[in-house]
């Protein structure tokens, strides 16, 4: 299973390295969203500072939708989906590989966005350990749920519009927990934030376990 996961993750990351969709399309989109938030909220007042963690994670989730859609689209094209089934790979390995590739891309994006937040919103980055742990666990949960719903929507003609509708409610708890943990980390109260981090760990574990169990059946029926 892990060997299959490594093979699929390597393929997806190589695809990203060659196509540069994350770098040339998703990252500029994410930065643009941050800039628009800054325009929409008062830069001079407290509003932006208070809202920064929430805005950051909303931006991450919007970007995650693009990353997940891209991850599903490469398999939908040219019957690659059938070829993947025919290859005889462990479905759990395919799930873990695709989720890992999405997670790696999102983590790179999150580092970039954190720089953007510091630069555009003047946010002082504190509580680095909590920020990193939160980012890793929240990203794992989002990538796992996204990969699962990506394959669920893959066989449908309306997958592009259906995926956000399915995914956003499922990752709403991740958004709440990650925002709360970031608020505490950036507010200099990291100690209080680890409980949220633990909750994110539970979400990540549940979504990943569910994906490992359900992905095979969804891949067959999609």
């Amino acid at each position: 299973m892990l060997a299959d996961a490594a093979l699929v993750a390597g393929k997806d990351l190589r695809l990203e390295a060659r196509s540069r969709v994350l770098l040339n399309q998703v990252a500029p989109f994410s930065i643009l969203v941050l800039v628009l938030f800054a325009f929409a909220l008062d830069v001079e007042g407290d509003t932006l500072e208070v809202a920064t963690p929430g805005l950051y994670w909303v931006t991450v989730l919007l970007s995650a939708l693009l990353a997940v859609q891209r991850s599903s689209a490469v398999e939908a094209a040219d019957s690659n989906h059938d070829a993947l089934r025919l290859a005889g790979l462990d479905p759990a390995g395919i799930f873990l590989g695709k989720a890992a590739a999405v997670a790696v891309q999102l983590l790179v994006l999150e580092v970039l966005l954190l720089g953007g937040v510091a630069l555009l919103y003047g946010t002082e980055v504190t509580g680095v350990a909590l920020l990193v742990a939160t980012a890793v666990l929240a990203t794992t949960g989002v990538a796992a749920a996204g990969t699962l719903y990506g394959v669920l929507a893959a066989g449908l003609r309306v997958r592009e519009t259906l995926l956000p509708l399915l995914l956003l409610p499922v990752v709403a708890p991740v958004l709440i927990a990650a925002t709360s943990a970031f608020e505490l980390a950036l507010g200099g109260r990291s100690g209080e934030g680890w409980a949220w981090c633990g909750l994110l760990g539970v979400f990540a574990l549940v979504y990943t376990a569910f994906g490992v169990l359900a992905f095979g059946a969804l891949l067959e029926e999609s």
């Binding site: 299959d4 093979l7 393929k11 060659r18 019957s79 059938d82 070829a83 089934r85 025919l86 005889g88």
Partner: protein
Amino acid sequence: MEPLVHLRGAVVLLGRFPALAGVDLDVEPGEIVLLRGANGAGKTTLLRACAGLVRVTDGDAVVLGHDLRADRRAVRRRIGMLGHATALYDELTVVDNVRFWARAAGATVAHADAALERVALPDRLRDVPVALLSTGQRRRVSLASVLARRPELWLLDEPHAGLDQDARDLVDELVRAAAAAGATVLLASHELDRAEAIATREVTIAGGIVRGDRRLAAVTAPPPAEVPDAG
């Protein structure tokens, strides 16, 4: 000898439409079976059913000793399928694509490289993204991906489509070589003259059932040195 493919009253529903309406077919190891029939007759669905890509909802379906109604996944790694689509990742290079599909099916990088040599794609194209290739070149890469898996059962759906004369000859040569090495081939084609020249048997399908079945003249095998490993 046990048939490699054993279908008895096999039914496949696409939605509520019976794409296969009770197919009876036994295929022995080493046979090259040409499936002929009009568009929509059920040829592609039959190939997809043998690959376990669609569910057989009624009847018996045993491929490579595995009951497809009980477990569709078990046989897949032993099957090579060339369909209408090429199943390649556009942004990946030729060599990356063939190596990925080879490794995914449990074959090695060496098998992938040997398969690429076998389809006679120019060396200068090996590191080119497949998005930049012509249709015929993509089909050759796809054929290499199938070859690299060293399948026991080849399922070929219109394998000559979109190919130039040399590539069509290459397909015929590879099919003959695979059969000579012990592999079994099911081939759906509208190019009957060409397909009949390599097939050992012709099965006619219409309306999702087998309407005719006849033996064809034996084919001449190519030199053993060029035979791909069927195991």
